[in-house]
């Protein structure tokens, strides 16, 4: 996810392009929001406004959906999103220690973004690959069987 600032007219243009490529029914809302998150980094108010116009949906409804799903975001993110699975299987496999190491390495609490805008850190519920727990998801890459001492080298791979 590139760090990029968009002007309002660019947002409108980009959102319009995304909506045109996906569709304007109610059912198209989640794919649209997903794509907007991917391309803009987050779903800005300008984006919601424009989706509202194109899909003829109230902004409150788009906001409800956009804030409900973890995969969507209405806040700007760092360049990389680190998600740590806090479900039971990962917990049993030593997740708590991994979480401490992650917080230590990132100097962040869940939900925060680093001052240099490099990292955003979240905890998440089960990612569905409990066999290789503890699991960390960085952007779209999965890291399994993570131990606390691996954390610096895993994070070191990201610019």
């Amino acid at each position: 996810m590139a760090e990029q600032k968009f002007a309002e007219n660019e947002v409108v243009e980009l959102v319009t392009k995304i909506v045109t490529s996906i569709g304007t029914t109610r059912g198209d809302l989640i794919p649209i929001l997903q794509k907007v998150t991917n391309e803009l980094g987050y779903i800005s108010q300008e984006a919601i406004q424009q989706i509202s116009v194109l899909l003829k949906l109230p902004t409150k409804e788009i906001t409800s959906v956009a804030t409900f799903y973890r995969m969507l975001s209405t806040k700007p993110h760092g360049r990389h999103i680190v998600q740590f699975c806090e479900s039971a299987p990962c917990h049993i496999a030593g997740g708590r220690e991994v979480l401490s190491a992650l917080k230590e390495a990132l100097q962040l609490e869940p939900g925060e973004t680093s001052a240099d805008n490099k990292w955003t850190f979240y905890t998440t519920s089960c990612l569905g690959i409990c066999g290789v727990g503890p699991v960390i998801l960085i952007d779209t890459e999965i890291h399994g069987n993570v131990t606390p001492d691996q954390i610096p080298s895993i994070l070191g791979r990201y610019e």
Binding site: Q49, P58, T59, K60, E61, T63, T74
Partner: protein, 920 residues
């Protein structure tokens, strides 16, 4: 019917009912929090769980439909336990910060106590949100008290149709949020307060009075703003109105109200209220007026002095210059009873038909046009009927959302719920356009070509309802001949509406019959106002949309009682009930009733009486609750006329802009201090009930008029014989209504007593047994056959040219009322709309050079000039600006022209030519 058992009782239910509804009809209470009868069920709170035999687990009764043979238990130990758990969970996230809040009946607490829980002990000890977090001046938001029942979310969507409230985030973080988690007003909130009315916990409350103690009494009355006729409860404490709350029994609006109705009442306690009669010093001293421009100082006096002087001057003017030198202006804000007396005063006491009121400035063209075409000048169908049965709607020249807000929201709901096809014809992109299937954006002043053009296409396509036309109308051939002059291409050129949109509009209204047409000032305030109305009546007759539910011609009346003021004969040509002053029989009838000779000459209208000052024909004015200095076109000229006027008695609640020109000011009372009736836009007569005593020494308006009348009569000069209805000794307004009923066939069966028991009655209601008439012209038009009258297009009297290149159109905004005397005295309304804004299109703003520094516009017409803040918005197209008449310093009427419709004498407020420049 479906048979089921609830708690062992055999119960019959409609198949469409839920278990909850079946129980409620049988008088069985099931606890609920998220449910409300006006809102769609959602099953969120789990309080209404019941046990259904054979069902797995417990069932939400609010969402479960009844079924044959169902056996339901609504109360047992298991259910009580479940409800206690639900209540404990809700209370665990509920926090009361301890401030006083007496606005709401807390349903959460009520049920907690019912199930023997102590809410204070169980509630969360810590707040999660700031109290009063939203700057909206009307709605107090405390999310610590929110239980996420979503009643407000549904009320905003399903009642108001604005979709402001939603739920953001999920799980424990879920919270109520406006729009994109913004401030309410930024999320397009219209501050109707429906969310507050439906909130069960006080999370949303009425901000202006949140800490005011509970009322000691509630008085149901009718709103004094627009013609929709909403009712509500005035909450009274210590002889003050402390708040307005919804009254679920209100016939027109139920729980719904608009921002002005719910929050716009505090003007009644404003310190500007007139509380003592005032007379100019020169009159008290018996001297001549200081100068023709100057009336000198005001002196407070006792009532007898003021009334004696008023009577003497009116009587002497009448005796010296003749009855027609006196003008009487009545008030569409006042009751039927008061208006009846003003009509009687002018005709019986003074002997003139110079009695008029502001209907002249709003629907005079409608009354004249429809009376000629159909025989009755009133709205044909009820609002509820149209909202429920129309399959398409044509809204032309009515910004319903802002001017008749509660009906505007009913139109939105008709579109949302029943998929009604809405066509908006308006030069501006008004709010309703969002809900419209089609927006015909005609140029101002081109309504006749537009409607004639549609009829031309209907003819071409063979869509005429021939059976209706043959059986119920006449002169169709005359119409057809005229329509030939309006082929689509020509119409498109005149109106600016593309040809394909004209065809599309015709298909929509023909394929979705019945169609109801609505209009307001956009149709009437033109020099062709009456012909505009003819065109709409023609269209509906051609389609056969008369005398049926969901059809008709529906002029939306502006003032709360403008329909009633017309009904009561406050018009130059008719006695009460539209009995013509020129008809021998009706004149005889009123001469006998009132015991005197009456004038057979049609009187002068508002728009003739005031300019008549400079011609020397008007010498004295008696005005009740009107503000011509603000509301009449070409203010500079009106002010000059009023300056020159010999004698002016003004009866009002405030020192209005017009009071500057008055010689005597008589303090009347506001709607919360009086009892009487208002007649709404759909001819529905409803009670207005006194809740508090008159302020200061102010008197009932009917008493003031009677006091002056008795004095003028006593001075002699006009013989009045004693008859049952000639006197002026009324002891209450119910007696006046009895006189109205005796002399007005359409009000014959209406009395205060009946209205108190039956709620409301639509006229015609000729006898005490008659149930009233919600739909007019069923089977037959009032005049017999419907009369097709060809409407002929003429250009507006002033069009843009090189010197004045921009077109100006005028109107109101949702937060203010007419000349603003009431709403400018409501603090919260001023917070959201505190100054006049002129709407300017983005294209024009660019051309004018409006920017961060130059934010105002100076607008000049041939008659005057004003400067006001610009609002750059695409509501107006390029070349058109829009302004209002709510603020005296930049009243748009300094610019408008007093060009009159030749039949109705209504001024052309809707079109003037102006030049505009950007200023700092």
């Amino acid at each position: 019917m479906v048979n089921l058992k609830i708690n062992g009782r055999d119960i019959q239910a409609e198949p469409s009912w839920t278990v909850l509804q079946a129980a409620q009809h049988a008088g069985i209470t099931i606890p609920t929090l998220c449910n409300h009868k006006d809102l769609s069920p959602t099953g969120a709170c789990r309080m209404c769980l019941v046990s259904v035999k054979g069902a797995r687990g417990l069932t939400t009764s609010c969402t479960t439909p009844v079924a044959e043979g169902m056996e339901v238990v609504t109360e047992n130990q298991e259910l009580a336990k479940s409800r206690r758990s639900v209540l404990k969970l809700l209370l665990s996230v509920y926090h009361d910060a301890g401030y006083t809040n007496n606005d709401a009946d807390n349903e959460l607490f009520r049920w907690a106590r019912f199930y023997e829980l102590d809410p204070q002990a169980l509630m969360s000890p810590t707040p999660r949100y700031p109290v009063d977090q939203d700057p909206n001046p009307f709605v107090f938001v405390d999310l610590n008290k929110c239980i996420l029942c979503t009643r407000c979310v549904r009320a905003c969507a399903e009642i108001q149709g604005r979709f402001v409230w939603g739920i953001s985030e999920r799980g424990f973080e879920s919270h109520l949020a406006a729009g994109m988690d913004q401030n309410m007003l930024d999320a397009r909130c219209e501050s109707c307060g429906a969310c507050v009315a439906y909130c069960p916990t006080g999370a949303l409350a009425l901000k202006p009075t949140v800490a005011v103690p509970p009322a000691e009494k509630k008085v149901a009355t009718t709103c004094s703003y627009c013609g929709v006729g909403c009712q509500f409860d005035l909450n009274v404490l210590d002889d003050q109105v402390i708040r307005v709350t919804s009254n679920p029994e209100a016939p027109v609006n139920g729980m719904h109200l608009c921002v002005k109705g719910r929050f716009g009442f505090s003007y009644v306690h404003h310190t500007d209220r007139l509380t003592k009669p005032m007379v100019r010093e020169y009159l008290l001293k018996g001297e001549p007026r200081p100068s023709s421009k100057e009336r000198g100082a005001w002196v407070e006096t006792d009532w007898d002095t003021a009334l004696d002087l008023a009577a003497q001057k009116l009587a002497s003017t009448r005796d010296k210059y003749g009855p027609d030198s006196v003008g009487v202006l009545s008030s569409a804000k006042c009751t039927n009873e008061e208006n009846y007396l003003m009509n009687k005063f002018a005709r019986q006491v003074i002997g003139t038909n110079n009695i008029d009121h502001c209907a002249r400035l709003c629907h005079a063209s409608t009354v004249a046009g429809l009376a000629t075409a159909l025989g009755s000048g009133a709205m044909t169908n009820s609002m509820k009927d149209i909202a429920e049965y129309a399959n398409s709607m044509l809204v032309i020249g009515s910004n319903t959302t802002e001017q008749h807000p509660v009906f505007g929201s009913k139109i939105r709901q008709a579109v949302l719920r029943r998929n009604v096809k809405l066509i908006v014809a308006d030069p501006r992109q008004i709010d309703l356009c969002e809900f419209a299937t089609l927006h015909l954006q005609q140029k101002p002043g081109t309504d006749i070509p537009l409607i004639n053009g549609l009829m031309n296409i209907i003819l071409e396509k063979g869509y005429v309802n021939t059976a209706f036309v043959e059986e119920r109308t006449e002169n169709f051939d005359v119409l057809v001949e005229n329509l030939k002059l309006y082929p689509p291409e020509k119409v498109s050129k005149i109106t600016g509406v593309p040809v394909d949109q004209l065809y599309q509009a015709v298909e929509i209204i023909v394929q979705n019959a019945p169609m109801a047409v609505f209009w307001a000032m956009g149709i009437t305030q033109h020099t062709t106002g009456v012909h505009n109305v003819f065109a709409l009546a023609d269209l509906q007759m051609m389609l056969g949309n008369f005398g049926i539910p969901g059809g008709g011609v529906n002029p939306l009346r502006g003032q709360n009682n403008v329909q009633g003021a017309c009904d009561m004969g406050c018009l130059v040509n008719v006695y009460p009930g539209y009995q013509a002053v020129t008809a021998e029989a009706s004149r005889r009838k009123f001469e006998e009733a009132w015991g005197t000779n009456l004038s057979d000459k049609i009187g002068k209208t508002v728009t003739e009486i005031i300019p008549g000052v400079l011609e020397g024909t008007t010498k004295a004015l008696y005005v009740l609750g009107e503000n011509p200095a603000m509301t009449d076109p070409d203010s500079n000229h009106i002010h000059h006329c009023l300056e020159e006027l010999d004698f002016f008695v003004l009866q009002d609640i405030f020192p209005t802009e017009s009071s500057v020109y008055a010689d005597i000011l008589l303090p009347g009372v506001s709607f919360v201090e009086k009892t009487g009736t208002f007649t709404n836009t759909e001819r529905r007569v409803q009670m207005v009930r006194q809740a508090i005593s008159p302020r200061g020494e102010a008197r009932q308006d009917w008493q003031i008029t009677s006091d002056i009348a008795r004095r003028v009569i006593a001075l002699g000069g006009r013989r009045i014989y004693p008859t049952p209805w000639s006197g002026w000794n009324y002891s209450n307004s119910a007696e006046i209504m009895a006189e109205v009923a005796a002399l007005t066939p359409s009000y014959g069966g209406i009395s205060h007593q009946r209205l108190d028991t039956e709620g409301s009655l639509c006229w015609p209601c000729p006898t005490a047994e008659h149930p009233g008439t919600p739909i007019l012209h069923i089977g037959k038009f009032t005049r017999g056959k419907g009369n097709f009258i060809p409407a002929i297009h003429l250009d507006p009297s002033e069009l843009p040219d090189e010197e004045y290149p921009i077109m100006l159109t005028t109107g109101r905004v949702i937060y203010h009322w007419h000349s603003g005397e009431m709403t400018r005295r409501v603090k919260e309304l001023m917070e959201v709309y505190g100054q006049a804004l002129i709407e300017v299109s983005p294209a024009d703003a660019y051309k004018l050079g409006l920017n961060g520094e130059l934010t105002k516009v100076k607008v000049t017409s041939r008659r005057g000039s004003i400067t006001a803040q610009a609002w750059v918005t695409d509501r107006v197209p390029e070349g058109l600006i829009y302004g209002n008449f709510h603020f005296p310093e930049n009243n748009i009427n300094y610019l408008t022209k007093a060009a009159l419709d030749p039949i109705a004498k209504i001024p052309e407020f809707k079109v003037s030519a102006v030049k505009v420049e950007a200023v700092a």
